[in-house]
């Protein structure tokens, strides 16, 4: 009896050891990814500075270049994850993916004032939208990224006014208002998302107050036809 049991357990031992090695490897790649993410963030932070909004095209371009590096890292990562086990190790890259989704969405907003497409966001980091197609971005992580975007834009509306751009806050207000309506449609069960959604309400309120400040002082751009269209 002893021998069989020993054999069985030796086999199991190897199995478990391999799994631990895999976790180490994943951690390693994710660390790289986090570094690149911090660099992208540093680049985009410049939009808040007095001359920042005027340099949006250059900033976005620099950021997009760094996203190329992310693609390689995603490739590295996805090569390591065995079929069927995405969610076994998901916790390792969850937070960095959320941050990347936020940064991707910020670029798209700055360039086009639109909400980023899920597929565009996934593509930017070299991942898929659907699990069926390969290494993908979890939907909840994408949504978390959008909520982080809301906070950033709320801050931007303040700094835009300082920089003398009175149009941006109106655009942001309309954008966040739509975003909020969108989120209201979702029946969020995920606790982290729900909490963050509460923050969105405050972000929106803040932007509304900026628009209020502009409008009570007659600084709100007259031609609001664009906006009426935006929110209808």
């Amino acid at each position: 009896m002893t021998e069989t049991i020993t054999e069985t357990f030796t086999e199991l031992h190897e199995f478990l050891a391999a799994e631990q090695q895999l976790r180490e490897d994943i951690r390693f790649v994710v660390k790289d990814m986090e570094q690149t993410t911090r660099e992208i963030q540093k680049v985009l932070q410049a939009i808040h500075q007095p001359q920042g909004l005027k340099k949006v095209p250059e900033l976005c371009e620099s950021a997009r270049k760094l996203f190329e590096a992310v693609k390689d890292q995603t490739k590295n990562l996805s090569d390591k994850i065995p079929v069927n086990q995405y969610y076994k190790y998901h916790d390792h890259w969850k937070f960095v993916f959320q941050k990347l989704m936020f940064l991707a969405a910020l670029i798209v907003f700055l360039e086009s004032e639109n909400l980023i497409d899920r597929s565009v966001a996934a593509e930017l980091i070299g991942a898929k939208v659907n699990k069926e197609d390969g290494f993908h971005v979890d939907l909840e992580d994408f949504l978390m990224g959008l909520l982080q975007l809301a906070s950033e834009l709320s801050r931007l509306s303040v700094n835009a006014v300082i920089a003398g751009d009175y149009n941006k806050p109106l655009l942001i207000s309309a954008f966040l208002s739509n975003l909020e309506s969108g989120f209201r449609l979702l029946n969020l069960k995920n606790d982290a998302l729900r909490k963050r959604f509460d923050a969105l309400k405050y972000d929106l309120k803040k932007v509304e107050e900026v628009v209020y400040d502009l409008s009570i002082r007659g600084l709100k751009p007259k031609d609001t036809s664009v906006l009426t269209e935006l929110t209808n």
Binding site: K31, D32, E39, K42
Partner: protein
């Protein structure tokens, strides 16, 4: 992890305030990175030491009361070999890293491996001599002569680390006692029991001098209780029959009829 990626374009801009600030921080960065890198290297060594030490402890647990001297010496010799390797390949390196440094700055990196090694070393010592290894005896192991590749160095083992390692020893001794009982060997557990009792009451002299020690004292107490309870069970059970017969029983002759009771 490379940290040299953030080469800044701002440097060129001239003498604005921002450049000044950034330059100051660039200086800080190299300081911080130097420290972190050493820390990481020490953590790695320490982690290796931990793994190796755990293996030694695992190995030493093969000991069973009543083994032949040959068998026992084989186990001890194997342990000794492994400890030598750790000394040469790990602690010597560690000592060199810490030359000209305040070793306390890196104690958080060094500590886990060091303590685990002290645990293994004192366990080995107990098995060999039935005694507690002293701090002096430990310290002798940490003086390194220069070798082909490495310069000479000494690492001073702090008293606190020694005590923390010894505190962990209690857990292993408890396991040793239980394993031997499980294997039908009873005498050792009584010896371990007394050893731990003396150890615990010796520790009780220190108050709250070392924070970490408090937690470990609770563990030591629990280990002792387990051994006490095991000894108690042996004694209570053992008393059901006269000891000379008990010896037979334990020797496996098993020829006692029911009337003894």
């Amino acid at each position: 992890m490379s940290t040299s990626t953030s080469i800044e374009p701002e440097v060129d801009h001239g003498n604005s305030k921002k450049t000044e600030v950034v330059n100051k921080f660039r200086e800080f960065q190299s300081d911080l990175d130097g420290k972190h890198d050493k820390h990481e290297r020490l953590v790695k060594i320490s982690r290796d030491v931990t793994i190796e030490s755990k293996r030694i402890i695992f190995l030493l647990h093969r000991y069973r009361e009543g083994m032949s001297d040959t068998e026992k010496n084989k186990i001890l010799e194997e342990g000794n070999q492994k400890m030598k390797l750790i000394q040469e390949n790990k602690f010597h390196l560690m000592a060199i890293e810490l030359k000209n440094e305040d070793p306390n700055q890196f104690m958080r990196a060094v500590s886990p491996g060091l303590q685990e090694y002290l645990e293994a070393l004192s366990f080995y010592h107990y098995l060999e001599k039935g005694l507690l290894i002293s701090l002096n005896e430990v310290q002798n192991q940490f003086v390194f002569n220069s070798s082909e590749k490495l310069e000479s160095a000494t690492f001073k083992v702090p008293a606190e680390e020694y005590l923390l390692g010894i505190a962990d020893l209690s857990g292993e001794l408890m396991r040793l006692a239980i394993n031997n009982i499980t294997a039908g060997k009873f005498d050792l557990s009584f010896k371990v029991c007394e050893f731990l009792q003396v150890l615990l009451s010796s520790f009780s002299l220190f108050g709250n001098t070392i924070k970490e020690l408090n937690r470990k004292m609770t563990t030591l107490q629990q280990s002792l209780r387990k051994v006490e309870n095991a000894c108690y069970t042996l004694r209570v059970r053992g008393c059901e029959i006269p000891t000379h017969i008990l010896a037979d029983v334990i020797a496996g002759s098993g020829k006692i009829s029911e009337q003894i009771e």
